[in-house]
């Protein structure tokens, strides 16, 4: 087959494929090449300043071996999983509740509330900690005033409850992701299913557990995967609010990688931590998909 005939025969496919080119080029430049560089740097002792910037050495797996003996790395790993797990549960439950509320026929004023629910998600993440700092102040903060009003003990949100505080900020800021995915999924369920259930006298819980939940299984898995993916490399709140403290209790892996690479300028080691984050995301996402039967 001559080239001309080949082009003629597959012209529509070629045109369609050409639409992918800009996205692929962007993906290559901004995702693939930096990823390859990151992996390469993780096998070197490259620094952002000093002689090691100009003359880095290939050190094989040394960064990874050092990481095994690095107590702060393991501490970061622990707090990252605590943060992800707590955020996953809170963001998902809040998102699901909001989605159920928005798709329910029982309530009014949903359009306005939908916009209010979305607000934290659309406000830039860098702003959130500033808002919350005044809320969480031990002496004058809104949260402790509410606790006092109910006769409860005020909490040290910035020090003793630092992890709870960042989880709270993250959950408040991010529950709308699950809300958006799940509300659109719930809306797409045919009404007939509920009408039949009503005829048979199904309770609200039975309708939710036997109809809604099974039919939104894949959106649920998708939202869980996306929330987890967002949280495991989360950076903004701990960077802005706690800077990893106190005593590394909020030093998430992403922040640890940042501190290593950009505060101490140990780029090679920071990249190695970044590679570990990527591997964790990859493995756990696969596991989540497998468990969900996707």
């Amino acid at each position: 087959m001559s080239l001309l005939r080949y082009l003629k025969r597959y012209s529509s496919e070629i045109i369609l494929a050409s639409f992918l080119v800009p996205a692929l080029v962007l993906l290559l430049i901004f995702q693939l090449i930096p990823t390859i560089w990151t992996i390469w740097f993780s096998f070197t002792d490259m620094a952002l300043i000093g002689k090691k910037l100009i003359h880095p050495s290939f050190i094989g797996l040394k960064n990874y071996v050092d990481m095994l003996n690095d107590s702060i790395f393991w501490q970061s790993m622990k707090v990252t999983f605590e943060y992800c797990l707590a955020s996953l549960v809170l963001r998902f439950i809040l998102g699901l509740l909001a989605a159920l509320y928005l798709t329910s026929k029982m309530f009014r004023g949903k359009t306005i509330l939908a916009a209010i629910f979305l607000l934290p998600y659309i406000i830039p993440g860098a702003i959130h900690p500033y808002v919350w700092i005044s809320m969480l102040d031990t002496r004058y903060g809104t949260l402790n005033r509410i606790l006092l009003f109910f006769g409860l003990t005020p909490q040290s949100w910035v020090y003793k409850r630092a992890m709870e505080s960042v989880v709270m900020i993250n959950s408040w800021a991010g529950y709308a992701l699950a809300m958006l995915i799940l509300s659109s999924a719930i809306t797409s369920i045919p009404k007939e299913f509920y009408e039949v259930a009503d005829i048979y006298g199904a309770s609200r819980w039975q309708k939710f557990s036997k109809i809604t939940l099974p039919l939104i299984k894949y959106p649920v898995i998708l939202s869980l995967v996306l929330i987890f993916k967002e949280d495991i490399d989360d950076f903004t709140y701990v960077y802005m609010f706690t800077e990893g403290g106190p005593h590394y209790r909020t030093e998430l892996l992403s922040l640890y990688a940042y501190h290593k690479a950009f505060a101490y300028f140990e780029l090679g080691y920071g990249c190695a931590v970044g590679v570990i984050i990527a591997i964790i995301v990859f493995v756990l996402t696969l596991a989540q998909l497998k468990l969900g039967g996707v």
Binding site: I49, G50, Y264
Partner: protein
């Protein structure tokens, strides 16, 4: 020079926020994207010099008669291994601020200049007793300051080693222990929960504060975040005294600088140098110092509005007692390690100064490496 020749040079100014500035500049240099002339803090100088990123300005300053007018402390902060890499533009030593109204309420003298650290503690204890609603004392902004107050060092430039164990470091831990536990002149929550010292001071809820000279205008000045309306009436200031122990200085302060440096990869070193000279003119430095409450880096820049402002005029004299921050790689690690031991072990857990010293030795070795630290 270029002006005389009638040559028009366009300068593109790129600005960046203060938070994350250090990381941004270093990354720009590493990526080869830094400007010809860069505004740089002193702590990045050693690493960038080692990476060959900064132009050696020694031959330029040798021919520049203005160089003799720059204060020594700034010159030291801009030099590395005997060569000049940076022209200091502003410097910012630490001072003691005190609320005159609280002092009067407590029956303490105003103006006040403590002769030793004990005087500061005594004043704070009096305030604790007489004005109990007020936090008596907050320090030290630079965590290592008590080491210098004891006459100690953090770094030995002769062998390039960081000092992890010394009598001065033990004394510093004792100072912190006294502040938080023995005398309780600072509530530990203030440190652990990062209470906003400058706001507390503005509100008259904090009596004595060690902080940078920039607070006077940049924080408490007219139109600023924590403006104090009758600032001149209520804000007093004094030199930071030594510990009063053998070997301790009478007065002490520690300072860093922001400087103009030239990218070693610039295509126009001569032009860049002309720009640096232009930016380092005394009237520009003085105006910047006046607007931001930073101290000028050259003696002939005490002029104009700067010279008329009594605080700035006084604060310039603090430089006589100021020592430069160490200019060496590893400074941030050293300081962060020391800070962590103070906050996480001394303040949070109430560990004794001796225990803290032992923890610090172990942590410093872990962070900096056993070859990079020593005991004196």
């Amino acid at each position: 020079m270029y002006r005389e020749k009638g040559l028009i040079v366009r300068v593109k100014i790129i600005t960046a926020p203060h938070k994350g500035y250090r990381e941004r500049v270093v990354t720009d240099f590493a990526a080869g994207a830094a400007g010809d002339v860069v505004w740089l803090g002193e702590s990045e100088i050693p690493g960038l010099v080692e990476a060959g990123m900064l132009l050696d300005l020694t031959p330029y300053v040798e021919k520049w008669e203005d160089w003799g007018k720059f204060y020594e402390v700034g010159k030291k902060l801009g030099s590395y291994k005997g060569k000049v890499y940076a022209i200091p533009f502003e410097t910012a030593p630490l001072v003691i601020y005190y609320r005159k109204d609280i002092f009067k309420q407590a029956g303490l003298p105003v103006p006040w200049q403590p002769a030793t650290w004990d005087d500061v503690v005594r004043a704070a204890l009096t305030i604790k007793e007489k004005v109990p609603d007020v936090i008596p004392f907050r320090g030290f902004y630079d965590v290592c300051l008590p080491i210098y107050m004891a006459g100690g060092k953090t770094y030995d430039p002769t062998d390039g080693k960081w000092i992890d164990k010394s009598d001065a470091i033990l004394s510093a831990f004792k100072v912190y222990y006294d502040v938080f536990y023995s005398y309780g002149i600072t509530p530990k929550e203030a440190e652990l929960e990062k209470w906003d010292n400058r706001k507390l001071f503005q509100e008259g809820k904090l009596a004595i504060l060690i902080d940078g000279v920039w607070c006077y205008i940049e924080k408490w000045g007219p139109g600023m975040t924590y403006e104090i309306e009758n600032r001149e009436d209520v804000v007093g200031y004094s030199y930071i005294p030594g510990l009063g122990t053998p070997g301790a200085p009478n007065y002490i302060s520690v300072t860093g600088t922001y400087n103009w440096v030239i990218n070693a990869k610039t295509k126009y070193p001569e032009l860049a140098w002309e720009l640096v000279k232009e930016l380092s003119k005394p009237e520009i430095i003085a105006q910047w110092g006046y607007e931001t409450s930073h101290i000028v880096t050259r003696s002939d820049a005490v002029l104009g509005e700067y010279a008329k402002e009594p605080f700035l005029k006084w604060a310039t004299t603090v430089l006589e007692h100021s020592i430069p921050k160490p200019i060496a790689s590893g400074y941030k690690k050293y300081v962060n390690t020391f800070k962590r031991v103070i906050i996480d072990y001394l303040v949070a857990e109430g560990k004794s100064p001796e225990e803290c010293l032992s923890i610090f030795v172990n942590e410093a070795i872990k962070e900096l490496g056993s070859d990079a630290v020593k005991e004196v």
